[in-house]
Structures are given as C-alpha cells and as structure tokens.
Symmetry: C2
Amino acid sequence: MPAYRYGLLIKHILEHVLVRAPDKEIVYRDKVRYTYKGFYERVCKLASVLEEIGVKKGSKIGILDWDTHNYLEAYYAIPMMGAIMHTINLRLPPELILYTIRHAGDDFLMVRDEFLPLIERVKDKLVGVKGFIVASESKQVPETPLEPVYNLEEMMDKASPSYEFPDLPEDTDATIFYTTGTTGMPKGVIFTHRQIVLHTFAIALSLSGFYPSPVTITSRDVLMPLVPFFHVHSWGLPYAATLGGCKMVLLGRYDPGLALEMIAKEGVTFSHMVPSILHMIVNHPRVHEYRDALSRWKVVIGGAALPRGLAEQAMRLGIKVMAGYGLSETCPVLTLSVLKDYMAEWPDEKKLDVLIKTGIPAPLVKLRVVDNQMRDVPRDGKHMGEIVVRAPWCTREYYNDPERTEELWAGGWMHTGDVAVWDEEGYIQITGRAKFVIKSGGEWIPPLILENLLSLHPAVSEVAVVGVPSDKWGERPIAIVATKPEYRGKVTEEELRKHLEKAVEEGKILKWWIPEKFIFVEQIPKTTVGKIDRLKLMEEYKKIKLP
Amino acid sequence: MPAYRYGLLIKHILEHVLVRAPDKEIVYRDKVRYTYKGFYERVCKLASVLEEIGVKKGSKIGILDWDTHNYLEAYYAIPMMGAIMHTINLRLPPELILYTIRHAGDDFLMVRDEFLPLIERVKDKLVGVKGFIVASESKQVPETPLEPVYNLEEMMDKASPSYEFPDLPEDTDATIFYTTGTTGMPKGVIFTHRQIVLHTFAIALSLSGFYPSPVTITSRDVLMPLVPFFHVHSWGLPYAATLGGCKMVLLGRYDPGLALEMIAKEGVTFSHMVPSILHMIVNHPRVHEYRDALSRWKVVIGGAALPRGLAEQAMRLGIKVMAGYGLSETCPVLTLSVLKDYMAEWPDEKKLDVLIKTGIPAPLVKLRVVDNQMRDVPRDGKHMGEIVVRAPWCTREYYNDPERTEELWAGGWMHTGDVAVWDEEGYIQITGRAKFVIKSGGEWIPPLILENLLSLHPAVSEVAVVGVPSDKWGERPIAIVATKPEYRGKVTEEELRKHLEKAVEEGKILKWWIPEKFIFVEQIPKTTVGKIDRLKLMEEYKKIKLP
C-alpha cells in the first residue's frame, strides 16, 4: 500500500501554528518575547542540543522548572524527537521527587538553576542520570558538583536551528507525570502522542464556542496558564493554544500580584487554575486596580470543586468562570460545564448553577456513574455512585505497577474514585472522593455540598468538611472553617449552624448532614497540589469526642 | 494490559449528541420531524432491520436516495454495525451507476421508490445483490420485479428500538463513494471510522470560530446541506452538525425555491454547496422576498472556485460566504479560507479577497505546492505547482485499482492534480486542474483567474476559459460566456476584452493571457456533479481556427 499512514503526532500541532499564526507571540515574564516562528527555531535548537548530549528515542528527560519558555520548548522538542518528557512535580517533598526520578528511570535532568541545590543534595542516588542540563536566565551555570553538566543557553546559541523530526508511530510515549494521590507512593501516568493530540482537539473544540459558554478560547485569546506546566501538561491548554495560534504569557513561578500585572499588561484573556489560585487572586489587596483587565478575563477552574461563593466573588469583579473536571490519569480533561443552547439566555444566577457543576462529558468521553456492581445509578441528580470513564486519552497504566493498573481499569472502565450524581441532562456533580465521602448511619453525606453552602456565608474564607469517628453513627461530619480576617473571632458556630439550617428549610440538604462541630482555624491545610488535605484533617480531628 | 483501547468510531459522535442535545430537531421537508433521541431510536431500528435481512460486518449497502431522514439514519446505522455504506452518485448515467454497484460489490441496495425503474432496468446484471430495501414516503412499495424486496418503513415499525453497536477496530471501512473524475471509469474511495471521526473534529474546529471567519457553525446553528448526501458524506457536515447538536434540515431533492422557503421557515443559518447551487439560489426570481432570512445565512462554497462576482452578489443579499477546498479522495476537506486574526478588522472588500481563496490548510493537513520534481515552489503567490497533501483522512486507495492508487500516492504524497500558487501566509489559490491549465508559448495561463475577473463584469452570468490548440503557441485560451438574460445580445467581445485589458493595466493579469475569442452561449455545460465540463468545452471548440 503506497498511501502515507498519517499518525497523530505532537509535531502536527506545531506545524499548524507555523502556517496559521507564525507571528503571534510567546512571552515569558519581562524576560523573553518571541514569535511562534522564533519558538519553532528554538524547539529545533533544543532538539539539536539534546541529540548532541545523547538523548535518543525512548530516553526520559526529567524537568525541574517553573512555567518558562524553556519548559514550553521542551513540551515540543522532547516528544517530537521520540523521547519522553517527565514533568517533575515541584511541590513534592525532595525524597518523593527523588523517588519519581528513579522510578521513571530518567536518563537526563533539565533543571532550572535555582533547583540545583535540591538535586545536589541527592546526587549520589541519581545513579541512572547521564547528564544535567541547566537552564539559567543569567546564561551562567553556578558551580556544582553534578556531572556532566550542560549549560542549556550556551549550547542553544551554537545549536543548529533546523532539525528533522521523525514520523513516529502515534502510540509512542510522549510524557510521564507522577500523580501524588492521597495515599501511597506517587504513581506514574504516561501519555502518548495520539492521546495528547486527541485531547488537544477535544478541549479546543469544547472551549471554542462550538458549545455555548461564557468561557471560550479562540485564536484571538491570550492564554496565561495558572496550572503549572509540570501538572498533566498544564491540563493540555498550552497545546490547545498552540493549535489556535493564541498569544501565550508564561509567568514562571506563580505570584498573584504578578499575575494581575501580566493580565493587564499583556492583555491576558484566558487562564485555568485550581480554586485556591483564583481565591488568592480575587482576594489580592490590589485586585480592584485591575477591574478593567479582569472584565475581559475568562477562567476555567478544575482540580477541585468551584465553590459558589468564590465564583460569585469572581463574577462581581467581571471575571467569567466555568468549572471543569479530570484526573492526572485522564490527560486530564473529562468534563467541562459548558451550557446547553437553551441555557444561554438564562439569567446569570441560574447559569451559574450549571457553570459551577462538575460538567458534561467532552466529545469522545464516555462517562458513567455506577454503583459497586457497575450498574448505572439513576440519572436523577440524587443517587450517588462512582464515576467510571472511557476516553481516547485515559492513561493505559500506572508505570511499572501492574497491580494498581488492574485496580484502575477493573472491568474495562477507568475508575476515578470520585463519587457523584448525574442528572437527566448529562451533567455530573461530584459529591466527594470515594474515600472522603462521609458514611453516617449507613448513609452518605457529601462534604462538597456542605462546603459549597458554607462558602456562601460572608464570614467564610475557606472551609473543609470531613468525617470523624462516631460511636453512634460510624462517622459524623465536622466543619473546619477559615474565616476572613475582618470576621475573625466575630462569627460563631451557632451562626454557621443556622446558615445551614436555612438550607435544610430550602430543601437543599438534609438536617442530619449538618456538621456536629464547626472548628475555626486560620488556614486550611493543603496538599502539594493545592487541594484541601483531607487526610491530614481527618487525622488531626479523629480524636474529637462525638456522641 | 487491562486498559480499554478506545477507537475513533462513528458511534462516539452519535453518543455525544445524545448527552449534549437529545431534544434538538432533525427535519425532512414537511414530512418528518423528530429529535436526536428519536433519531437514535430509528438508527437502532434500521440496524435491527438490516441485521434481520442478513447484513453483516463488511457487507456493502448501496444507497440511491436524495437527502432524506432515511439516508441520515443510514449514515450512522450502516457503519456502526461494521457494514460499509456505498453512497451511490445519482448524477451518473445509469450504466455508470450499474458499474459502481458491481465494482463495489454491493450486497444490498437501499432505494427510494422513485429510483426503482432505474434499478429494474438493469436488474439482470445485479447478480451479487442479495436484496432491495425500498424507502417510500407512502410506506407502500410499488409493484416491482426485483426480489427479494423489503419495505423499509414497514420493517422499521416492527423492529427493535435497541441495538448494541459493536466496538469495531477504528480502521474498519465505513463508506465508499465513486468519484467521477473527468476521464476514465469512476474510482472508488473508501473512508474508515477513524478517518471520518478525525475529519469531523477538524472541520468542526475549523468552522467553530476557533479561527476567525464570518462563516461559522456552532450548536446554535441550523444546518441545511446543499451538497448531496451521496457526495463524500455531504462534505462531512452532517457528522460535524451531529457532534455539535445542531438542528438539521433535509431538503430531499434540491429545489432552489424550496431551499429559500426552508431557510426562512426552519431558521436555517448554515449551508454548504458548489457555486452553481448558490448561483441558482441568488438568481431565483423570488430571492428578494427572503432577504431577512438570508441575512442570517452563512455558506461554505467548495467543489469549484467561488467567483468573486457571485460572492459579491450573495453578500449584497446579506449572505456570508467563504470558500473551501477538497477532493473526493480526501473525505473531502483540505482547506478553508478562514481568516487570520489581524484580518478580522479589515473592510469587507479586502476580507473577501481572502474568503474567496482556495484557503489555508485545516489542522492536521500537511499541504505542499510542488514542481514536477516534488520540490516546493516559492511561496510568493506567483509560482505555480501541483498541490500534494497528507492528512489523516486521505483515502488509502482507489478500490481494486492498484495502478491508479500508485499514481495517486506517488512518492508518499497524495497528488490532487490541482495546480495552484501559495503565498507567504500559507493561503492557496488554485489556478487550474493540471490537465486544464493552459500552456501557451511554454508558459501557463491560469483559467480560474481569468474566469474570476470576467465574472465581475455585469453582463456575465457564468464563464469558462479553456485552452484550444494553436499552431503558433501550442495552446491559446478562449472564453465561453453565458450572459445574464437582460444582457443577451447586448454585450460584445470587444467589451469583455476591454474589461480584461483594464485588469492588465492594474497588474492583475498578463496581456497575453487575454482569451483569443469570447464565445457567447446560453448555458455552460456541466458535469454530473455540477462542475464546468471543461473536457466537453475543449472537445467542442478544439477546431476553432486560431493563429
């Protein structure tokens, strides 16, 4: 057969932008500014450099970096060569970073200079690593006992600006990332070229306006990622923005003040982030100076539920918000809370009911909510079950972990561990993690619904509801509440209980869901990826004396 | 490996609309109106019927029908069962229809009642056909000597409304269509599930507004195809509209008056068609009664170049227009003349320069313009070469025709046979078919550019420029001109020559490109798919005495 067998390769995304929008810009802080044409040249140079130091098809390159232009170059150069990019989770403790480097079997590490001390401390354990590529804004590499060490920018200056990227099989591994989970050691999830390309098309189409939503991304938008590049390809948005030829603004290490500045200065119109980042930005002391720029800002929130209180606060600043949902295991997007046609004309309040939901499956995502016999629960918005999925971009395995892979894919469906309800319309609402849902008197209490309601109280800054042991009920919920500074010491347990009793009267929750206790704290503990650390809270409060 | 291997299957498009927009409507004339939910039930019933009469995986089912709901049901039911839908070209002469049925090896024929006489006439030659499924609005099947005959609607009434569609390998053949070409017997082009799904995503994304264009299709649009269902899946738009959950309006057999009526009555906002259909609609005597509805109508024109005169005429009626390009061999879309960001603010006149171009490659389409040594010609908008392509949806072969398949894929690139220039921006402009470009004094004269200029003359309704033999120059161009009725006999050769001389002065064309003769006719002959029949014109005028 003489026909060319066309694989779905990451290089095709980059080739497209070279035709569509070669002159659109990529900006890294106030440090670097070049066009996609210039970007492509740098991608070729990076590939030339990597080849020179011995990177081959199948080599793994671990990256320790903030969201820099170097990282974005690696997003293309490494997989396009046939090598595998290991996006190392910077928020892990050093010993777990070491664990993931060794478990993945990284052949090379590409390290921003400020992370050198971290690596130097464990260098004797990095036996498999054949070289350290150091990226530095100063173009200088500090003295280091690591070897061999390569000065990235120095080598880039001399590297060939053309590189012939091979036609790989589309099932070639492109990236690996370690998901922290909440128990056990990190697990590696791999994504192939095909998976990343299909995920890119599905999220681009979902967010293009093809389906109605106040939050869209098109070629005219300016993307500033606020999900770190190391975290499942920053949810795939950098790839989608490249396909669209969007201007991209990279923030390096995140800082809410700098984020606000860049939104205004570079005309950023689209970002994606976890709720806690949005929380920091909308509560930034200077946020009101940026109202004009924020009125053009559209954000997708994922990684955790979008509390209605936070969404409303953002909307009062003119920000357009929408929720999405996915897992590290799913590349990550599974659902987005885009609207249906007839909702587009609804009043904002009513639209928000939908926009803060977990969402509706993206094209090509087959999603079910099932009981423990794998039977679909009724689509009534009430019956809870586990979300299980199939999609072209679900990871095929936990790297080198057949046992947990078996669990993940039990019965041919990927188990998310998330408990949810779905409604007749196909929208999903997560009510908790399978292991965090509170079982009280044999019935489930969904912590997220309670947290959402409590977040609407004016005194509440952040809140977590967790289950603690109860002799009588098995488990009972308690609420850990961080109040806004101006309310500190001025809000009582009784007041919050009344707030929820009102919700009981309105039929939103059941009376026995109301937490037994409301504990006021200054800060809610978070996991390394910024989610509420429920395990820690459960551990901390398990000795509370409850009836 | 326990992971589910997710193939790109046509059923995933249909599953998505059942979640996104189950209540949006599909309308066939004033005959049938149901929702996607009802549609899905009918698709299941059709599969049940086909299974009952013996259709199996790999069976081929030829369809002779206009754009009806039955046909749209077949678009899904047949490939989703693992069978292959042969969309028979109704515009072929009977002996060629017979040829394609026999060449494809159709196992069953699904025939609208009005086409029964056509099939009855050749029934003795339909040796491989195991059954005839007759679709009839009256639900009655007329007396026929064909056997066995199945009454589609009668069987549908009794069929099971649920059907478990299998998880096929994504490379399973889904459709076959015979392209007429301009010489030789029709050639069969096959498309797989994977190809159709990827094509659907690429055109949906291209037209979603992700890239700027006055012509977009989103879930809020109402699609009325004006490219027959038999013609390369009506360019794939019905699949894209399903993915979007668009309301769809089917016209059955085309009629410009009925088209206008349905646009107004059903709120049609999007159609796609060849220029001659647009020509008929905008010149319909009652077109001005529909100005309000037409002001919301967006059209994509393909199959032949969009003449500027026609585009301007449509725009004066408020219609938004854009060109696209592809071949039967390419599923078919390769390019769309979407704009670049900085063009979005241009005045309409200047935008139109881009919108009527052949276009810019769609995502995942790798397109080159090459000389006969397969070297890229300069991207200067001047140097001509052949368009060669790679895309995930190029047909792998001409069915059972290895020799022409070799030619098609010579050198690993699909040869389109179209001659074009490309410019720095990546836009393509076709200047002629390889075999229709005029070679004069060893240099090429592009007929389409001349036709485009002539179409701007107020007297010109349609025009074709073809080459005829010349002793002195090898070939010289002549223009065959159909004038508008009110200009008939009132426009002279001299006047059109002056019109082109003005274009020479403006640097748009070269003086020696001006046709030797202008021949006035009432109608330009067309091929069965509505394109100008250049072969016929060349044949007819080859004996013209030229210096």
